[in-house]
């Protein structure tokens, strides 16, 4: 184990903690931006430090292809390679190989910007063959079959050198039904043993296991118990954020957070939208990652307390307000919606500035979640967002319910908050 996890404050199931990793002492709940190819698109590492980023996620699959884990190792590890002094987490590489067309298309465009891009328009799901050995897939470089085993995934991650590494899991989408889900769950447990055996740097890198089991509570329970038996430094809840309905999503998170150890970090993979992060934190999760803030920025969408703001919209042409008057980021302090509107989708600077703001927003959300839990203000409810009663920006649960000014809070949120023991009735119209 190469981490310390100390809970500093609680509200019912929600907890705020200090997660001390080899490269950085982090505060949870926290959001991790995704730096696929060893970089967050549109921001330098100085800017990421400036806005308070604590951990960046790197994609093992992409880094193994380019520039290769051997080269990264030779050059002193990913921290040095990308000049990031704080913490890093790498995923196992498995998800990228079986993930959706959009992810692969984006990866393909990034990897080779010219004629190979069309290769990635075919989902590798059809080309990936998952067996007990590992995941066989077609190399995007030369089409040759390649095999990623649990051992190989851990060896690559050992070379990359991240503070947290993920076990290779057999991940299936929650939209699939049938015996495949059970097969994947048991295989995940068998593979985690192989990952543990292959892990050569347990005193510098923390291996997290990933709970699978689809939407089946029985399977999820078996998987949680199996992983907890292995006494890993931390645990992730995987297989979500892939198209399942929200009501199923929160129930799986609630079940897993209730069963995972109190004294270890819990990471919900691929989440996500600010509202989802607030709900999952209320249910007892600590860590999140998602491409959403930066990807949506590249499409001209900013994250704001009321939900989203589409800067491409014609209404923005002459709007001289900042994106978010309550936001303290460099973009909101210096730029108007009108200026950002003239940039988005036409100039790279538009993507850069929006990515900056969106990441700041997510990281500020993380800070607010942590401090409000520590200070006992997590659930505080202000009925009218603009009123003088709203003394600080740190009231989180209800702040996110400002997205529903008519009180039409989704039922899944109400149900989840009920289980989390947080009263949001004053924000709901019914």
């Amino acid at each position: 184990m190469a981490l310390r996890f100390e809970v500093l404050g609680r509200f019912n199931r929600a907890r705020a903690a200090q997660l001390t990793l080899p490269h950085f002492a982090c505060q949870t709940p926290l959001f991790m931006p995704v730096g696929t190819q060893g970089t967050i698109k549109g921001l330098t590492t100085d800017q990421l430090e400036e806005i308070g980023c604590q951990i960046i996620l790197g994609n093992t699959y992409h880094l193994a292809l380019r520039p290769t884990s051997e080269l990264i190792d030779e050059l002193g590890g990913l921290h040095k390679f990308m000049n990031w002094p704080r913490a890093l987490l790498t995923d196992s590489g498995g998800f990228q190989m079986v993930s959706c067309i959009t992810n692969l298309y984006v990866a393909g465009i990034f990897y080779t910007q010219w004629h190979f891009a069309y290769i990635f328009q075919v989902s590798l799901l059809h080309l990936a063959d998952i067996t007990e050995k590992g995941v066989t897939f077609q190399s995007p470089v030369d089409g040759k079959p390649m095999l990623l085993t649990p051992e190989e995934s851990i060896q690559i991650q050992n070379r990359i050198g991240a503070d947290i590494i993920m076990a290779l899991d057999d991940v299936v989408r929650t939209t699939i039904t049938g015996p495949r889900i059970e097969e994947a769950m048991y295989r995940t447990l068998r593979w985690v043993d192989r990952c543990i055996a292959a892990h050569k740097r347990p005193h510098e890198q923390n291996l997290f296991g990933i709970v699978q089991g689809g939407l089946d509570p029985v399977l999820r329970d078996i998987c949680v118990r199996g992983l907890v038996d292995r006494n890993l430094p931390g645990y992730a809840i995987g297989g979500l954020a892939g198209g399942e309905d929200k009501d199923s999503f929160w129930r799986v998170v609630a079940q897993c957070t209730a069963a995972l150890p109190e004294d270890k970090p819990r990471y919900v993979m691929g989440v996500g939208y600010p509202l989802d992060i607030v709900v999952c934190s209320a249910l007892g999760a600590d860590m999140y990652d998602c491409v959403y803030p930066t990807r949506t920025a590249r499409f001209g969408t900013a994250l704001v307390p009321e939900g989203v703001l589409k800067l491409k919209h014609n209404a923005m042409v002459n709007d001289t307000r900042p994106i978010d008057p309550t936001c303290a980021c460099m973009v909101c302090k210096n730029y108007t919606r009108a200026y950002i509107h003239c940039l988005v989708t036409k100039d790279a600077m538009g993507s850069q500035l929006l990515s900056y703001h969106n990441l700041y927003y997510m990281l500020q959300l993380s800070r607010n979640l942590h401090s409000s839990i520590v200070e006992g203000r997590f659930p505080e409810c202000y009925i009218i967002p603009d009123s003088n009663l709203c003394a600080s920006r740190n009231s989180n649960v209800v702040r996110f319910l400002w997205q529903f000014p008519k009180g039409d809070v989704p039922e899944w949120v109400c149900n989840a908050m009920d289980v989390a023991g947080i009263d949001i009735s004053s924000c709901c119209s019914s």
Partner: protein, 178 residues
């Protein structure tokens, strides 16, 4: 703006210094103007720009035509001008109608009423009055007037026409100078 020559070489070269109202420090010449796209250097946001050597990197060149599709001169005025709009209050901006990449003079379409440019928004004919409306709203430290720019291989007649038009537009721009 103030400009003074500090030193001369034995030939024609000279070293000078430029004082601009918005820049806290004088800028030595010869100096390089950083080219921009919509007021910001490509890929370099203001917080990164400050890491370049200063004051040498404090002079930026821009083309008012980059804002052909908005924001409007009225909106730019209400924001307070270009410096305010792009958040570079202590930098100097020099306006030139053309840039070397995306707003290129199209001398074949230029006529007596205005200069034509190929832009990312298509071909645009800019009249002196419109150009000066942009300059007035953007408030650059330095600005070049609208010119009828022709390539070096233009014939004598076209060349003469370009000079006549440029001088005429110079007077029109000066008359509307803020």
């Amino acid at each position: 703006m103030k400009f003074a020559v500090k030193a001369l070489s034995s030939g024609k070269a000279r070293a000078g210094v430029v004082h601009l109202g918005s820049c806290p420090s004088p800028i030595e010449t010869p100096c390089l103007l950083l080219s921009t796209r919509k007021g910001l250097p490509i890929f370099i946001s203001p917080d990164l720009l400050s890491s370049l050597p200063s004051p040498d990197s404090n002079l930026l060149q821009f083309s008012p035509l980059h804002f052909s599709e908005g924001p409007s001169p009225k909106t730019i005025s209400s924001i307070g001008g270009l410096h305010q709009m792009v958040g570079l209050h202590e930098y100097g901006f020099a306006a030139v109608a053309r840039d070397s990449i995306q707003c290129l003079p199209e001398c074949g379409s230029t006529n007596k009423t205005g200069a034509s440019f190929e832009t990312p928004c298509g071909r645009r004919l800019i009249k002196p009055v419109e150009y000066m409306e942009m300059i007035t709203s953007m408030k650059p430290n330095l600005w070049a007037t609208l010119a009828d720019e022709v390539p070096a291989w233009a014939n004598n007649k076209r060349n003469k026409t370009s000079v006549d038009r440029t001088v005429k537009w110079l007077d029109e721009c000066i008359a509307r100078s803020p």
